[in-house]
């Protein structure tokens, strides 16, 4: 083991922490952006007007069929040569956003159109209004459908931030390359870098699985729903108890 680990890691601790933080920043900012853009594109694709659908379809097909690395080079080097100079964080996030929004829009579109029309009709019949129906009826059910695919994309996005090494984005992978060029210990350094990615991704995906299960089981997650269910439980206490007693009596 002493043969394998010879890099003075304590010297690099704060640099690595910075790099880790930057990887997380890229992931969070890009994912939020990709979800918002993906939702917008999905809604365009479900729009009644065909030009809206066409724009969204072209967008999705273009960015789904170009490698992420090409998008990164286009936004960072390509735009710069056309006079649009983006700093590396903006260019990196922009690339990840436009790329992942294309995939997420497909997931969101199928999730939204998968909500049964009877649900919208029930909402209409109850006078919920267009916005109310979308927010309270369609979206929660679509989220439940979209969650597994979206979670996969989030973990994938985190790993894809490593491609930003090509534009020296100072995230985890770039830091690894820096340490390697200083120490010439490629195997050791990239093992540690890989372990760090694993340490980020594994708990994240487990956490997301847990979230998926809770949502699927209908467990109220928002404070408002929790308060409402708690209040209802108090009001229904007598009904819930007597029934249990009776059932037990029968058994």
């Amino acid at each position: 083991m002493s043969g394998l680990f010879q890099v003075p890691w304590s010297d690099y601790r704060s640099d690595l922490l910075d790099a880790l933080g930057r990887t997380v920043s890229y992931t969070v900012v890009s994912f939020v952006g990709a979800v918002l853009l993906g939702l917008a594109v999905a809604l365009l694709r479900l729009n009644r007007a065909w030009p809206a659908r066409a724009v969204a379809a072209v967008y999705t097909e273009v960015f789904k069929n170009i490698p992420l690395l090409a998008i990164i080079f286009l936004t960072y080097f390509g735009l710069a040569s056309a006079g649009i100079r983006l700093d590396v964080f903006t260019a990196g996030c922009l690339s990840l956003v436009v790329f992942y929004a294309a995939y997420l829009s497909e997931i969101f579109r199928s999730a939204i159109s998968g909500v049964h029309t009877g649900q919208t009709e029930a909402g209409e019949a109850l006078g919920l209004g267009k916005v109310g129906i979308f927010v309270h009826v369609v979206l929660p059910q679509a989220v439940r459908q979209a969650l597994p695919g979206t979670n996969t994309m989030l973990v994938d996005l985190l790993k894809s931030t490593s491609l930003l090494v090509t534009v020296s984005a100072a995230e985890l992978m770039s830091e690894g390359r820096l340490i390697t060029s200083a120490t010439f210990r490629a195997l050791e350094v990239y093992l540690v870098i890989s372990a760090l990615y694993f340490a980020l991704c594994y708990p994240l995906s487990q956490l997301l699985l847990l979230l998926e299960r809770k949502v699927r089981a209908g467990i109220p997650l928002s404070p408002r729903r929790r308060r409402r269910v708690r209040a209802a439980r108090a009001l229904l206490a007598a009904d819930l108890d007597t029934r249990t007693d009776r059932e037990e009596a029968v058994v």
Partner: protein
């Protein structure tokens, strides 16, 4: 809040004020005429049943009342207000119209991501009812339809009969002036059908105004004040249940009733 949450009427059920009035209704889907020159009136406190074969336009007729379908021609009047005239919706506040008209669907259409009690609270809150009152009302309604012990269950944890009873409670929560029932027992087994008809019978006894599309002819005979037989998009025959169901004047009605085993 102990105020009765249901539809107890202070008005005697025999007033002739129409809650729903439909005149000259015409509707087609992709060039296929589904309803042709249909008139229908439901007076306050009355129960009108629409019977007829599947695909005959019954459900479409009902869905025109709360404008889930847009008629091509004719007028629709709800609670004294013209809401649709000659292919144009003239009702400015569609959500308000729909709160005036409660609807119960064949496939229940409960919101699967919300518990039974939340299903009943949601629309009330959107209609401006305060949270505590909305909850009280939801709980009282769940007790009324006999599913309070399942109030915190999700729809797919409920039996069909329980789901439909929760759906009825949800429709009642907005204190509608009229309830529409679209084949409410068609996807239920006999036991669940009995439960749901039991609840509907109680509503009828309380004087709730109802428009009912159904295949349950004995039930229609029992609770209805007026029965309408729709076939091929037109009203073929209508009248008192004992007349239409037991002594139909039209050959087409007899044919239909024979097929349903109601007339020998």
């Amino acid at each position: 809040m102990t105020e009765p949450v249901t539809t107890e009427k202070t008005v005697p059920p025999a007033t002739t004020e129409a809650v729903v009035r439909i005149e000259g209704l015409r509707k087609s889907f992709d060039g296929r005429l589904v309803l042709d020159d249909v008139d229908l009136e439901v007076d306050r406190g009355r129960i009108v049943s629409v019977i007829g074969q599947s695909g005959g336009g019954k459900t479409t007729l009902m869905r025109c009342v709360n404008l889930l379908e847009q008629p091509d021609r004719g007028t629709v009047e709800v609670a004294g207000e013209v809401v649709h005239r000659e292919g144009r919706t003239v009702c400015r506040d569609l959500p308000r119209l729909r709160r005036t008209v409660g609807m119960v669907f064949q496939r229940f259409n409960l919101f699967p991501h919300l518990t039974a009690v939340e299903n009943i609270v949601l629309a009330q809150r959107k209609a401006g009812v305060a949270e505590p009152e909305a909850l009280e009302r939801a709980v009282a309604l769940l007790r009324r339809v006999g599913v309070a012990h399942r109030g915190l269950a999700l729809p797919d944890q409920l039996s069909g009969g329980e789901q439909q009873r929760v759906a009825i409670a949800r429709a009642l929560a907005l204190r509608p002036e009229v309830l529409l029932f679209d084949e409410p027992t068609s996807s239920l087994d006999p036991e669940a059908t009995r439960e749901v008809l039991g609840v509907m019978r109680e509503l009828a006894a309380e004087g709730m105004t109802m428009l009912l599309v159904t295949h349950e002819l004995p039930f229609a005979r029992e609770v209805s004040d007026h029965v309408v037989f729709v076939d091929g998009g037109r009203i073929v025959e209508e009248g008192r249940p004992q007349d239409v169901l037991d002594h139909p004047a039209q050959a087409r009605t007899r044919e239909f009733l024979t097929a349903y085993g109601s007339v020998s």
